[in-house]
């Protein structure tokens, strides 16, 4: 529907890396037994992925995918407009398992950080080893950006997608702008 708006309406900033708010992204939080075949089947069906990601990894293609959140939690990505239907199908498929699937599309904001200094921009804010040996495409990490919880994963090299709570989207965007300010390239990652 036209009147649905993302937290910051798609703002962007160009510094030592490019920062952009990605707009609305369908998201489903799924808690349950990840070793349950029924669950795996339902998830792959809902997200178009062949299989579930291993721990600390994301399997994402465009607006669809799955991120490993914890041993009993996944974050499913689906196109925003389709989240209702996908969720219904998921809930139906899981009606016999002890699982919780809820729509969190509107509770989150999504950013993309790109450029050869993207690693460094994140390394200024998160206590995570973002060196090339340690953090490669597909790697997913839940941590903090400065003072708020956030999660990010690497798409192709030099591009990260960040998910945070909608209420702090403005804070996170301003943080990323400071971290990406011109002249602040570290030149080590």
């Amino acid at each position: 529907m036209s009147d649905a708006v993302s937290a910051l309406g798609g703002v962007s900033f160009d510094g030592i890396a490019r920062i952009e708010e990605c707009g609305l992204q369908g998201m489903i939080t799924l808690r349950g037994d990840l070793s349950d075949q029924a669950l795996a089947a339902a998830v792959t069906r809902a997200t178009g992925q062949k299989k579930l990601p291993e721990a600390n990894r994301a399997r994402v293609a465009g607006e669809s995918g799955v991120c490993w959140m914890s041993p009993d939690e996944l974050l499913l990505l689906v196109p925003y407009e389709e989240v209702g239907g996908r969720l219904e199908a998921l809930v139906a498929a899981l009606k016999d398992s002890h699982a919780l699937a809820v729509n969190v599309s509107d509770a989150r904001a999504v950013f993309r950080v790109t450029g050869d200094a993207a690693r460094e921009v994140l390394a200024k804010l998160a206590p995570v080893d973002l060196s090339r040996d340690a953090f490669q495409p597909g790697r997913f990490r839940r941590t903090r950006l400065a003072q708020v919880p956030a999660a990010f994963w690497m798409e192709e090299d030099e591009s990260f997608r960040i998910v945070c709570f909608r209420s702090v989207a403005d804070y996170v965007f301003k943080l990323l702008k400071v971290a990406a300010q011109p002249g602040s390239k570290v030149g080590v990652l």
Binding site: A4, R31, L100, V104, L175, G183, S184
Partner: protein, 1005 residues
């Protein structure tokens, strides 16, 4: 006088002249100068005043250990006090001012303290200024405060013009120090394939080696530096940073790097400082060594300088601190200075070698250059006020009877070298006393321990106590390999570069010069140049029983200056040991604490300033509130409108307007901040029965129930409406800001106590924008939007329903926190603004107004509803608040039930909730206490109750309040006295807390 030499100056670019000012005077230097070298080149010998006696102070060192040459740097929003001239790179337009004097550097009233010095020994203030009692605060202290302190404070309204940032990095090995030892250790570590981060505090690689000379594998040492630097630069697993100081070493391999990005180029873009938060498997400290001064009378006169520093000024910056120099030493290294000076054309008047037998090969070399050397001789006294004029010499083994006067304008002194052990010690590394070199060095057998219980710091080169070039290289090579191995890599074999340098004769410790200097000389022999601590002061402390080195330090302030004792610690320690007739290692050292040298507060704060100082959580309608006059109130990290101000309105007017309008027409509240937790699973009901004092498992699907949560300690921690969504799903509302910690609270119990229960919890707080539509017109406005049936029959009080309202998918809760007809409606957050707009639009016909938190408080107070944080404060149990009805009697157990059975909790004399009505209709002051009879054993007035909420009710036209009162519910009608803080006394009658629509007719329509 001190001047620029025609020769030497490996670090300066004579083709690039730089202009700067010192105390307003314009001076010139070269690119590559430090402020200190430039000042000396301009014959600026005296650069400041000491802390206590305001004595003239000149540059004594050439690096981070400098205690004297501190200046105020920059102007306005870039002014910074106490900047060390020796570590300040010169740049064009630099402005510096000297410190701690009035009216001027050369003429300073405070210098009168020098004359009084004898009356101001260590700790004098503990023995004086005792009477009369008020004088300390009003007379003595203001004077002392004025004369104390060093640099001028930045202006009150100064706002730092620069930005700062942090940077997280992990590495296998961190090497701190880019001298030959650090470079070689880094290379050997890197050859194993380990990730290596090498940081150096100055702007140059190589440290002292190029100044001290010597050869490596036959080539001059500076060539070796060039070659190994370029080798490291080609290694992909090596990161190198100049101007990045190892500031501190912390537990579990954490270290701080303090990078100064634009201090030498203030107009460059980007942050000024970057604080590196480093995690290293192993840390190599190649932090070098610091030369010790000699303790002789007048060793603080400007022009008296460390021998190594004087050598630096000649070799690195082409500056001669004097024309006629006397050298005093107890070791061979100082001869290098004598030789360097001589070769640079400076007249070396005499070398006074305290050792009876003099030195070795270097002494012979000096003599061969025609320098006169007097073995067994010492400095009795240096004369000169603002700069050295002459030196009286005597036998070292004596009391100081002068034999001869030497006229000179500078003195180079060397008491031997001490390894820089700070970073080794920060995290608990222990030291060993080296008898031969008379210094403390790291004890490899007692390193700081890491998370794995093994040592995680290795020292390299001079930092290990290896002072000669060959020993430095051997030690560093081994350190690099050891670190790599410990970090889980296999170091490569390969030969260690062979260092060669003139062999040195043994040094002899000289703690006092001359050895048996009499008291008047000892009272003029400085240990701590900045804080004015003298040999006699330490001896006094020992005499008075301040025997612990910590006592002595604190009593005399030895080592508490901005250099943190880099020059004074060992000398002071030796004097103390001598006074106690104890061995130096027995006396021990004071604790080394981070940072190695002071680091800016800005760098520590990092990016967190101004707009991003702390997160501000915003609801989907935040901007609308902002545009419509919201007077914000911080609630946790959220901001909620306290009220909406219209042009010309006071806050009080606005609140009253909102209150009346909501009762009479229609009010809208942004309730999005309320926590919304979904709890699902076969055991969810059982779980919620433990979480809440109420019975939640029996709640019917489609119904809502108000619930209370207590801590295991029995106290009320949160409340909110719980809705049963389906057979095994509940939705729990929490207070604003309660969402996160109640969510965590639930997860804690599920994960750590009842992990076999089948329950999942998810926090949906931000998925929904929630709006409370409140007032007599609430149903009307929703009906005009169209959609679901919200009639009394279709949705009764305390029921919820999913459906559509106008264009919107919504979940509607028929609940009321105001006593009015009220619907709380949740829509997806992304549509929150659109939904709010629709309500405002449709509401115009019904007199809609948004209302803020203060109106919300008043409406609920009129109904006697409690508010977490007002009626509760962490010491209140539900029973105190007349909420026993919400505590299930049927349940065997719930969190807090057992705790509420303790004697104090069941005490019939607890204060209980009542309404309070002032006799004259006025508003009771917030937090006022009701007084009882008499006073307690401590003479405090006895109290019988207190106000928990108090407001002006626009509806009732008078003040209303709630409070907790001793046996309150049994004392209806009784009048209590509440003294204000200004002497006035308020009288209020105990009444029922519900003062508006007792029978709830309005909310049930």
């Amino acid at each position: 006088m001190s001047t620029r030499l025609p020769s030497h100056g490996r670090l300066i670019d004579r083709s690039a002249q730089v202009t700067f000012t010192f105390n307003g005077a314009t001076m010139r230097g070269y690119a590559g100068d430090t402020l200190a070298s430039a000042l000396l080149a301009n014959d600026r010998m005296m650069v400041g005043r000491s802390f206590k006696y305001h004595r003239p102070r000149g540059v004594v060192a050439s690096g981070a250990e400098e205690p004297n040459a501190l200046v105020g740097l920059g102007q306005g929003n870039r002014f910074e006090p106490n900047q060390r001239a020796t570590t300040t790179e010169l740049f064009d337009g630099l402005t510096a001012v000297s410190q701690n004097h009035w009216p001027s550097l050369d003429f300073d009233i405070g210098a009168v303290n020098t004359a009084l010095a004898r009356f101001l020994p260590a700790g004098f203030y503990y023995k004086m200024f005792i009477h009369p009692q008020p004088f300390w605060k009003h007379v003595y202290e203001p004077f002392i405060r004025k004369s104390a302190g060093l640099g001028r404070a930045p202006d009150s309204e100064a706002r730092d013009a620069d930005t700062y940032e942090h940077f997280h990095v992990q590495t296998d090995i961190l090497v701190i120090g880019g001298g030959v030892a650090g470079l070689l250790a880094a290379r050997n570590a890197a050859l194993s394939g380990a990730r290596v981060l090498l940081i150096e505090q100055t702007a140059h690689w190589g440290g002292r080696a190029p100044v001290d000379g010597g050869t490596v594998d036959g080539a001059p040492v500076d060539k070796f530096v060039e070659q190994i630097v370029s080798e490291l630069e080609t290694m992909a697993n090596v990161t190198m940073r100049l101007r990045c100081m190892g500031a501190g070493v912390y537990d579990h391999g954490y270290a701080l790097g303090y990078e100064r990005l634009t201090d030498h180029d203030p107009d460059a873009p980007g942050p000024r400082h970057r604080l590196w938060r480093i995690r290293a498997r192993r840390i190599v400290t190649a932090t070098g060594a610091i030369e010790r001064p000699l303790s002789f009378a007048g060793n603080d006169v400007p022009g008296v300088m460390l021998a190594g520093a004087m050598r630096d000024y000649v070799v690195n910056w082409g500056v001669a601190p004097g024309r006629r120099v006397v050298v005093a030493t107890n070791n061979d290294d100082a001869y290098r200075t004598a030789i360097t000076l001589k070769q640079a054309g400076v007249d070396v008047v005499r070398v006074l070698d305290a050792r009876a037998a003099g030195g070795g090969a270097l002494m012979e070399e000096a003599r061969s250059l025609g320098i006169r050397v007097d073995p067994g001789r010492a400095i009795a006294k240096v004369s000169g006020g603002k700069r050295v004029k002459k030196v009286a010499i005597c036998n070292q083994d004596g009391i100081g009877g002068a034999r001869e006067d030497l006229s000179c304008d500078a003195v180079a002194m060397s008491g031997g070298w001490s390894p820089v052990v700070h970073l080794w010690s920060h995290c608990g590394g222990k030291l060993a006393w080296d008898e031969d070199r008379a210094h403390f060095r790291p004890d490899p057998d007692r390193p700081p321990l890491g998370a794995d219980g093994r040592g995680f710091v290795v020292t390299a080169g001079a930092a290990s106590g290896a002072l000669a070039l060959d020993a430095v290289l051997d030690d560093a090579a081994a350190a690099g390999k050891a670190a790599a191995k410990a970090a889980g890599h296999s170091p490569r074999r390969g030969k260690t570069p062979r260092g060669e340098t003139t062999p040195e004769a043994a040094m002899e410790p000289v703690w006092l010069m001359p050895a048996r200097a009499d008291t008047p000389l000892r009272m003029k022999s400085w240990l701590d140049f900045q804080n004015d601590v003298k040999v006699s002061d330490v001896q006094l402390a020992a005499r008075e029983g301040y025997e612990s080195v910590e006592h002595t330090k604190r009593y005399t302030t030895l080592g508490m200056a901005t250099d943190q004792g880099k020059l004074s610690n060992i000398n002071g320690l030796a004097i103390l040991a001598d006074a106690l007739e104890a061995e130096i290692p027995k006396v021990g050292t004071t604790t080394f604490r981070p940072p190695y040298t002071p680091i800016s507060m800005g760098a520590i704060a990092g990016e967190a300033r101004g707009e991003v100082f702390q997160p501000i959580r915003r609801t989907p309608m935040h901007d609308w509130h902002e545009r419509n006059g919201a007077d914000w109130e911080p609630v946790g990290h959220w901001r909620r409108p306290f009220t909406y101000l219209r042009p010309g309105e006071t806050v009080h007017d606005a609140v009253n307007r909102e209150v009346k309008n909501t009762r009479e027409n229609l009010g809208l509240l942004d309730a999005s901040t309320l926590g919304k937790l979904v709890v699902k699973g076969p055991d969810a009901g059982r779980f919620l029965d433990m979480m809440y004092t109420n019975m939640m498992s029996t709640l019917k699907v489609g119904k809502c129930r108000y619930g209370l949560m207590c801590s295991e300690n029995g106290f009320l921690i949160d409340d909110g409406v719980v809705a049963r969504i389906d057979e095994d799903t509940w939705l729990c509302h929490t207070t604003t800001g309660g969402a996160e910690h109640i969510h965590a609270h639930m997860e804690e119990w599920l994960q750590t106590e009842w992990w076999d229960w089948k329950v999942h919890v998810a926090n949906l707080t931000e998925q929904y924008a929630q709006v409370a539509v409140v007032g007599p017109n609430a149903r009307k406005v929703l009906e005009t939007l169209g959609g679901m049936d919200l009639s009394k029959e279709a949705l009764a009080f305390m029921e919820w329903k999913d459906g559509r309202i106008g264009e919107f998918d919504a979940r509607v809760y028929r609940i009321s926190f105001s006593g009015e007809l009220s619907y709380e409606i949740a829509v997806p957050a992304s549509k929150g603004q659109a939904f709010w707009d629709a309500l405002i639009e449709a509401g115009r016909a019904f007199g809609v107004m948004p209302y803020g938190t203060e109106c919300l408080h008043i409406l609920r107070a009129e109904k006697g509803f409690i508010m977490i944080g007002d009626e509760t404060d962490g010491t209140v149990i539900p029973q105190d608040l007349g909420l026993s009805w919400a505590i299930s009697k049927k349940k065997e157990d719930f969190l807090g039930k057992r705790a509420q059975q303790r004697s104090h909790m069941t005490d019939p004399n607890r204060w209980k909730l009542v309404g309070l009505e002032t006799v004259d209709g006025s508003v009771l002051p917030d937090g006022a206490y009701a007084v009882g009879e008499g006073v307690n054993a401590n003479g405090q007035r006895n109290t019988v109750g207190r106000v928990t909420s108090t407001y002006h009710s626009a509806n009732l036209g008078r003040g209303i309040a709630m409070g907790l009162v001793l046996n309150g519910p049994d004392r209806m009608g009784e009048v209590l006295e509440f003294p204000g803080t200004d002497g006035t006394v308020f009288k209020a009658k105990i009444v029922d807390p519900v003062v508006y629509d007792k029978d709830g007719e309005k909310q049930n329509v």
